[in-house]
C-alpha cells in the first residue's frame, strides 16, 4: 500500500483525518454513495427500492492533474460529479476538498456535510461546465449577465468592475469583448461552450468538473474546446475532473483515468497504463469497441463484443456487477463474491477476481 488509501472500497470505512490529506491532494472522495428512492403510492408514499446510481466509490485528485471518469450511459459518472459538488445530496460518504486561501493555511472541508455558509464559500473554488451548451445558458440573459452572475452571487466588485472582469474572461476563452451584450442564441455550440467555461472561471476556482463538455460539439469544434481546456489548465494551474463517454477524448486530456460500470469504479490507473495495459474485462471490452479513424488498423482489429445490455442499477447483479456480461466470469465465484478494489501495480487499481493485462488495440 502506498501512503494514500485511495479507493480501498472493500476495506473498513476508515475515518480520514483531514489533516492527513497529503499536500498535493486537492480532492478526496471516500465511500461516496448516492441512491435515488423508488416510491410507490400517491397519498401514502413509501419507498419500495432505490436506484443505486453511485455505490461506494473512492478516489482522489492531485492538484493540477486531470482525472478522466469514463463509462457508458447510466454508469453513474454524472451523478458522481453532481454529488461531489453537492448539486445532489450524497446518501453517504465524504468529499474532502482542500480550500486554498492566499496568505492563510489551507482548510480541508467535507463538502458532503458542510453547512450552508461554508458550502457557499467552498463552491467558489469548485465549478462545473455542463454538457449541453444550449440548455445550460439562460436564453433571456445577455452573455455579460451570465458570466457576471457568479460574481454577483458572491458579492464581488462593483458593476463596472464586474463588466471589466467579464470582458477579460471573454478574451481568455477566445471570444471577443464585444460579445458581452449579445444573447446565447446568437452563438454557435462551440462558442456557447466557451461562455459556459468563462462563467465557471469567473470566481478563479482551483477545481473544475467538466461534465461531457465536448460531447455535443462537432469534431472540429471539439478540438478547439479541448485545446482551450488544456491552455486554461496550464495558465491557471486548474485541476479537472473530466467526465466523458468518449475514450479517445479522455486519453487525450487526462493524466489518470477511472472506468465506471454500474455505479462502481472497476479500474483506475495512470492514463497510459490504463490504455496500454488494461486489466479489467470491462475496460478491455470498452477499449476494443472504440473505433479508430484509420482503415488499416480497423481492418485488423478484433472486437470483444459484449452480450446483452447494462443491467438496471435498481437491481444490480450479485457479486461482481459485471459478471452477467463478462466473458471471463466464473460461476460460483464472480456471481457471489464482490471483487475487492485492489492496487495490483503501483497506482493501478482493479476490481476483478481474474485480472489480466491484455492489449486490445
Amino acid at each position: 500500500m502506498t501512503d494514500t488509501t485511495t479507493g480501498s472500497a472493500a476495506a473498513e470505512p476508515e475515518v480520514v483525518d483531514p489533516s492527513n490529506l497529503p499536500d498535493d491532494v486537492i480532492l478526496r472522495v471516500n465511500h461516496l454513495v448516492k441512491e435515488f428512492p423508488i416510491t410507490k403510492g400517491v397519498f401514502f408514499r413509501k419507498q419500495i427500492g432505490a436506484v443505486k446510481a453511485v455505490s461506494d466509490i473512492s478516489f482522489e485528485i492531485k492538484r493540477g492533474e486531470t482525472l478522466g471518469l469514463v463509462g457508458e450511459s447510466g454508469c453513474g459518472k454524472s451523478t458522481t460529479a453532481r454529488s461531489l459538488l453537492r448539486l445532489l445530496e450524497p446518501t453517504s460518504g465524504d468529499v474532502w476538498f482542500r480550500m486554498e486561501r492566499e496568505g492563510e493555511d489551507d482548510e480541508i472541508v467535507n463538502v458532503a456535510t458542510a453547512k450552508k455558509d461554508l458550502l457557499r464559500e467552498v463552491r467558489r473554488d469548485m465549478q462545473i461546465v455542463f454538457q449541453d451548451p444550449y440548455a445550460s445558458l439562460n436564453p433571456r440573459m445577455t452573455v455579460a449577465s451570465i458570466i457576471a452572475e457568479p460574481l454577483l452571487v458572491h458579492g464581488e466588485g462593483t458593476k463596472s468592475e464586474r463588466l471589466e472582469k467579464v470582458k477579460d474572461l471573454l478574451k481568455v476563452v477566445g471570444l471577443s469583448p464585444e460579445h458581452a451584450n449579445r444573447y446565447p442564441h446568437e452563438f454557435s455550440g462551440g462558442q456557447r461552450q466557451r461562455i459556459g467555461v468563462a462563467r465557471a472561471l469567473a470566481l478563479n476556482p482551483s477545481f473544475m468538473v467538466l461534465d461531457e463538455p465536448v460531447s455535443a460539439l462537432d469534431v472540429s469544434i471539439q478540438a478547439q474546446v479541448l485545446n482551450l481546456m488544456d491552455d486554461l489548465q496550464d495558465e491557471y494551474g486548474l485541476t479537472y475532473l473530466f467526465i466523458a463517454h468518449d475514450l479517445s477524448v479522455v486519453r487525450h486530456i487526462s493524466d489518470r483515468v477511472a472506468v465506471m460500470y454500474l455505479g462502481k469504479i472497476v479500474e483506475m490507473a495512470d492514463r497510459d497504463a490504463l490504455y496500454d495495459r488494461p486489466m479489467h474485462p470491462y475496460t478491455h471490452a470498452l477499449l476494443s469497441a472504440v473505433p479508430i479513424p484509420d482503415p488499416h488498423i480497423e481492418a485488423n482489429r478484433k472486437r470483444i463484443i459484449l452480450e446483452g445490455d447494462i443491467p438496471s442499477p435498481a437491481n444490480p447483479p450479485s457479486g461482481c456487477r459485471f459478471h452477467t456480461r463478462c466473458p471471463k466470469a466464473v460461476e460460483g465465484k464472480c456471481d457471489i463474491d464482490e471483487p475487492e478494489f485492489r492496487e495490483l501495480e503501483p497506482g493501478h487499481w482493479v476490481a476483478c477476481h481474474f485480472p489480466e493485462i491484455q492489449q486490445v488495440f
Binding site: S248, R251, H252, Y275, P291
Partner: protein
C-alpha cells in the same frame, strides 16, 4: 460494371425559412454501385442527412424543395415518380434507418405489428407468412426469443435492441440500398460495436449497398469502402477510405482528421483544430465555402467556387483550387502507411 445502383446528379435541395433560403444541399453528384458501402461524412449542417432524405423522397414541400437534379435508382428517376410509386420503392428497394430508434418506432403498436406492416405493404404474402418473415428478421438481428418479443412494445426494448429492430425492419424486404443515418450516434460505444458488426455482416451476406451517414470518421474507417466528405451543402472530397485517411487532398478533410482524438495516440500533442465554425447555409461565403476557415486560402478562393475534380490517387476527387500544391499528406500527423500518391493534375 453493370449499371450503377444510384446516380445522384446535380442535386439541389433548398428550404425556405423566415431568414432566407437554406441551401442545405447545393449541387452534389455521385454514383453508388450495387453492394457498395459508402460513407457520407460531415459535421452538423453539412447537408448529409438532407441528401439521404432527398433520395428517400422525404423532402416535404412547401418547406423543402428539390430545386434541380436527378436521382436515378436502377435507371429510374425517383423525382418523376408519384407518391404511390415512391411508396413502392421506399421501404421495399431502398430502406432507411434513423438515428433515434425511439422516435422511428410507433409506441402504441407491438414490434411484431410494425414489422409485419412493412412486409405486407411490400411483399405479396399472407399474414401468417408475413409473421414468419418478421420472426426470421428478428432472429437475423440476433434478438433471442423472437416469437415472444414480437408481442412486446418499443418501450420494452433497450436502445440497442430498438436499433436492431430498425435494421430488421429495413432489411425485411431485402432492399438493394440501405441508408443508415447516424445509426449508432445515440448508442453507447459497446452497443455501437454490436450494431456496426451486425450491419456489416448482414450487408455482406446479402450484398446490400449501404449509405452510412455519420460524423464519426472512426466508424467509417471500419465499415465503408468509399467516402464522401461534405461541407456546407457540397461534396468537398471523395475517394476510397485509403485515399481519404492516408492521402487527403482537401484542407477540410485534412483538418478534420487532425482534429480527431485517437484511442491509440499515446502522445498528448495539441490537436490541430480547424479554426472558426461552419458558415451559415443561408449566407454562404463567395467562392470556396471553406475559405474563411482555411489556412491555405488565396485570392482565387474568394472568387471562384472550386469544382470537384480528379486529384490525388486514381479515383480520388477534391474541390480545392490548391490541392496539387499543398502536399497535405506530408503534413498529416500520424503514421503514413500509404504507397506514394500518384499525382494527377487534370481538372475536370
Amino acid at each position: 460494371m453493370s449499371e450503377p445502383l444510384l446516380v445522384v446528379d446535380d442535386l439541389r435541395t433548398y428550404f425556405s425559412t423566415e431568414e432566407g433560403i437554406v441551401r442545405a444541399v447545393d449541387g452534389i453528384s455521385f454514383t453508388m454501385e450495387p453492394g457498395q458501402r459508402l460513407g457520407v461524412v460531415g459535421e452538423s449542417g453539412s447537408g448529409k442527412s438532407v441528401t439521404a432524405l432527398s433520395v428517400m423522397g422525404l423532402i416535404e414541400p412547401p418547406a423543402g424543395e428539390i430545386v434541380t437534379g436527378r436521382i436515378l435508382f436502377k435507371g429510374q428517376n425517383l423525382l418523376e415518380l408519384d407518391e404511390d410509386q415512391m411508396q413502392e420503392v421506399r421501404g421495399g428497394q431502398i430502406a432507411m434507418i434513423f438515428q433515434d430508434p425511439m422516435t422511428a418506432l410507433n409506441p402504441v403498436y407491438t414490434i411484431g405489428d410494425q414489422l409485419m406492416e412493412t412486409i405486407l405493404l411490400h411483399q405479396d404474402v399472407s399474414r401468417s407468412e408475413a409473421r414468419e418473415i418478421a420472426i426470421q428478421a428478428i432472429e437475423d438481428v440476433q434478438i433471442p426469443n423472437a416469437s415472444q418479443r414480437m408481442m412486446d412494445y418499443p418501450h420494452q426494448y433497450s436502445g440497442g435492441m430498438r436499433q436492431r429492430i430498425m435494421i430488421a425492419m429495413g432489411l425485411s424486404c431485402n432492399p438493394d440500398l440501405l441508408i443508415a443515418d447516424e445509426p449508432t450516434t445515440a448508442l453507447d460505444v459497446t452497443t455501437q460495436a454490436q450494431i456496426m458488426d451486425l450491419m456489416l455482416q448482414l450487408a455482406e451476406d446479402r450484398g446490400t449497398a449501404v449509405m452510412l451517414i455519420t460524423h464519426d470518421l472512426g466508424v467509417v474507417a471500419g465499415f465503408c469502402d468509399d467516402v464522401h466528405v461534405m461541407y456546407a451543402g457540397g461534396i468537398v472530397e471523395s475517394g476510397s477510405i485509403d485515399d481519404i485517411y492516408y492521402n487527403p487532398q482537401h484542407p477540410y478533410t485534412w483538418g478534420l482528421l487532425g482534429s480527431m482524438t485517437r484511442l491509440d495516440d499515446a502522445q498528448r500533442k495539441r490537436l490541430h483544430s480547424v479554426r472558426g465554425a461552419p458558415p451559415s447555409v443561408i449566407d454562404l461565403p463567395k467562392g470556396c465555402r471553406f475559405r474563411p476557415r482555411c489556412d491555405f486560402a488565396t485570392e482565387i478562393c474568394g472568387e471562384v467556387l472550386p469544382a470537384l475534380r480528379d486529384v490525388g490517387n486514381p479515383g480520388q476527387r477534391a474541390a480545392c483550387h490548391h490541392a496539387e500544391e499543398l502536399d497535405l499528406k506530408s503534413m498529416t500527423a500520424g503514421e503514413e502507411t500509404q504507397e506514394p500518391a500518384v499525382s494527377e493534375g487534370a481538372s475536370s
